[in-house]
Symmetry: C2
Subunit: 205 residues, 2 copies
DNA sequence: GAGAAAATCCGTAGTAGTGGGTATATTATA
DNA sequence: TATAATATACCCACTACTACGGATTTTCTC
């Protein structure tokens, strides 16, 4: 099984490689610190399995997954993330990846995931399963932010005022206020600080 | 050399262990996900080198370092952090640790650090050196926040209003406003969002 | 083409925080 | 003990955002 690793922390990359090298059936044929470099490699080489972090500089793991699915549909993908925020997990799973494990899972979980994915199954780590099931049991939570709301939240996080955002998007300040109101409602926060924390947890910053 | 590892991400712990096991002179005699568990171990066993992450649940890496220095002064310490924020780096180095490397350094850097520390030297990763030198060249930056300011920043980050904070600390709202002003000045931010980002970067949240 | 969802826009009143000061008591530190 | 640093407190004018409310247009979906 030809595996390609992506993570922006070299030490983690080295560690995982060291673990996988102990398995005779697995072969790490390449690694990268950024999604861009990974894509270049996948365009030119056949990769059976891509194991990628979600947090990457520039292009994030989600964008990488979408592009890999386009340019190399046979490549299976396992996401190795530290994020356990329900919105974000759902967003990633929607892309149809083959496995999702967390960084505080052990290497055994990673090996199990690889085996399962190799056998054509989908593997979710225990914690991720819990999150999914929990969100099915308590579906009260609002649906995700719309694209526009997300756009505005990002601008808020970039320290723009309502006035600035309105100018930038060529809309009225009122509209920005309305979006802001809706974002607050949907994220169940009622302070700017809470909102920024939400943005962090959901990787919008 | 008897080494103890601390990191809240099991997969990283496993990876580093796997790397270190290849070196015949090194022996990983234990590992932990939390500072508390690590301290228990160090109390009862002789540890030559502690390699610890900074971000830990509950007690953080800085507090761990301070306690280890007390209960086992012979134990050398290498901090393995993803933080490269100048204030925080300085704060950690002030504790007198033996090495500081970043998570996006490679395993070679880690091995070099271990060798240097074993030889009684202090090892700083290249990026950390740059940060230190840079801060010497441009010492214009304000000194760190005072304890009180830090306390107030944490409360701001917990979504308390000035009124709330004043009540909680039994001081006037005016005083809170003054502290807030000083915090803004010192952190060179001028929006709440910037402030929260600073708090994140400095691990105050 | 009906209906839902999303995006747009507005008013009015009130509040919390910003930015500019100044000033004094307390606590470290040399 | 002088000096600096920190923590405390106040004033005033201003602005940005909040919290209610309601409404219309555009876009998507069945």
């Amino acid at each position: 099984m030809k595996i390609f690793l992506v993570d922006d922390h070299a030490i983690l990359l080295d560690g995982i490689k060291s673990i996988l090298e102990k398995e005779p059936t697995l072969k790490v044929i390449g690694e990268a610190n950024t999604a861009e470099v990974a894509l270049e490699f996948i365009k030119q080489n056949e990769v059976d399995l891509l194991i990628t972090d979600f947090n990457l500089p520039e292009m994030d793991g989600l964008a990488l997954v979408r592009l890999v699915k386009k340019i190399s549909p046979i490549t299976k993908i396992i996401m190795l993330s530290m994020h356990d925020e329900v919105h974000l997990v759902k967003e990633i799973l929607k892309e149809g990846i083959n496995g999702y494990i967390l960084k505080n899972d052990s290497h055994k979980e990673l090996l199990s995931a690889i085996a399962a994915v190799d056998a054509g199954k989908i593997y979710l780590s225990n914690d991720i399963n819990k999150i999914i099931i929990n969100s099915l049991q308590f579906p009260d939570e609002e649906r995700m932010l719309t694209d526009r709301e997300r756009e505005i939240l990002k601008l808020i996080a970039k320290e723009f005022s309502n006035r600035d955002i309105a100018d930038q998007l060529f809309i009225s300040e009122r509209t920005v206020e309305t979006h802001r109101k809706n974002i607050f409602r949907k994220t169940k926060t009622n302070s700017l600080v809470g909102l920024i924390k939400f943005a962090y947890a959901n990787n919008l910053i």
